[in-house]
């Protein structure tokens, strides 16, 4: 605890010299302080520190996330709690039949995406749908469906405060390499890579947008612009369209690999889902 306090104080001092005041704020949700700044892990070559996107938002947006009654994403968590107990599919099961209380899934979000038993990289959505089709014998949910967003928000909430910690070695390594390569690839007519904005220019304004590091520890996110929850892959799609690039599909192998690489860039940051952003 002591070490973390010192690191945070140092980080705050560094930030204070370059950034506006709200980047120094502490994210305290329902009395618990979340880790929004952490030393960059060794596999992130060009950063010394990793910073939650929360730090880059306005005071008003920041405030919405500090109280679960104000956080508009929480309504959807409540909806998922109902779904959790509802039997669906030919096997006559609900989530609760196997997992009992949602809290049994604490920690899951910190490890996503993760390689499955068959060696395939799966995002949380894939695991949810595997439960639905294999064990419940129910229809899979669409990636960006309300049911899926609600459920990933509920599952993420069980890990709130826990540091992101995805596996990037062994069977995950080739996926991680693929994601890393994408991160540095320029796409679209504007010919920009993720790194151009989120590594080289975080903290700077690009027209009206305050560029963050593009961390994904807060997903699924309640975005004020969307007036609803959205998935990580939806955000990727939006960024690609902004640079006039043909996006990959939500749930595609490419976006899942990119998700793994980004998750690894946020190692040490608290899970915040459902977070609030503008």
């Amino acid at each position: 605890m002591k070490i973390r306090t010192i690191t945070t104080a140092l980080a705050a001092a560094v930030l204070a010299s370059v950034a506006p005041a709200d980047e120094d704020a502490d994210l305290v949700v329902e009395g618990e302080t979340l880790i929004t700044r952490a030393p960059a892990p060794a596999h992130v070559e060009n950063l010394t520190e990793v910073l939650s996107g929360w730090l880059f938002r306005s005071d008003e947006t920041q405030a919405l996330q500090t109280d679960d009654f104000d956080n508009p994403g929480m309504i959807f968590v409540d909806q998922a709690l109902d779904t959790w107990d509802e039997v669906d599919g030919a096997a006559g099961k609900a989530c609760a039949s196997c997992h009992e209380d949602p809290s049994s899934l604490a920690g899951v979000r910190t490890t996503m995406p993760k390689v499955n038993e068959d060696g395939e990289l799966w995002a949380m959505e894939d695991y949810v749908n595997d439960c639905r089709t294999t064990r419940m014998e129910a229809e899979p949910w669409k990636w960006e469906s309300q049911d899926m967003l609600n459920m990933t928000a509920l599952v993420s909430l069980q890990s709130r405060g826990m540091p992101m910690n995805v596996a990037i070695d062994g069977p995950a390594q080739s996926y991680w390499e693929q994601g890393k390569e994408m991160y540095y690839t320029r796409y679209g007519q504007l010919d920009m890579a993720c790194a151009n904005c989120h590594e080289d220019n975080y903290g700077n304004m690009i027209r009206a947008d305050h560029l963050s590091q593009g961390q994904i520890n807060g997903f699924p996110v309640y975005r004020l612009k969307w007036a609803g929850l959205g998935s990580i892959h939806r955000r990727f799609k939006g960024c690609m369209e902004n640079i006039r690039a043909e996006p990959f599909k939500r749930g595609s192998d490419e976006f899942t690999a990119l998700e793994l690489y980004l998750a690894s860039r946020g190692e040490g940051l608290s899970v915040e889902g459902p977070s609030v952003r503008n």
Binding site: G188, D191, N201, M205, E241, E246
Partner: protein
């Protein structure tokens, strides 16, 4: 038939003085990142260029650059050096080169190439084979940049 060729002729005339050819993106010749000759032979219009520089779907220069001359416009970016005084720092040929494809001047830059139509990865079909600005728009923005002296 006669009418149609008439229309074509007018279109050609409108694009430039008789005989002047628009230089296609792939025909542009760079000299150390600079492009000495006009893309169209038609002098740029600085007023039009100023509007293009602001337009989010065209130049959108303010996304990255601050510019005191455009102080009335909201939200100037902080990603790039301010455009104030660029005409003192760079020649006309250099500025044309920077606009056409700044990567020829600044290796690895984030700044998009405004007059390049190939070599993109996963470009949206709507923009396939197209440049961000057309040749005359490049000359117009150039004329505007040349007014930015200190």
């Amino acid at each position: 038939m006669v009418r149609i060729s008439g229309a074509v002729l007018i279109a050609l005339l409108a694009a430039g003085p008789a005989g002047a050819e628009v230089v296609a993106p792939q025909q542009v010749i760079f000299d150390d990142g600079a492009v000495p000759s006009s893309l169209t032979g038609v002098p740029g219009n600085a007023e039009v260029g100023r509007t293009i520089a602001v337009d989010r779907k065209l130049g959108n220069c303010l996304a990255c650059h601050e510019n005191t001359d455009l102080a009335a416009e909201p939200f100037h970016g902080e990603v790039a050096p301010p455009l104030d005084g660029v005409a003192d720092r760079w020649s006309e040929a250099e500025l044309r080169g920077i606009l056409i494809n700044s990567k020829m001047m600044f290796e690895g830059t984030i700044m998009p190439a405004f007059y390049r139509d190939t070599g993109y990865s996963r470009i949206l079909p709507d923009f396939e084979g197209m440049t961000i600005l057309d040749a005359q728009q490049v000359e117009d923005v150039l004329a505007y940049l040349l007014t930015l002296t200190e």
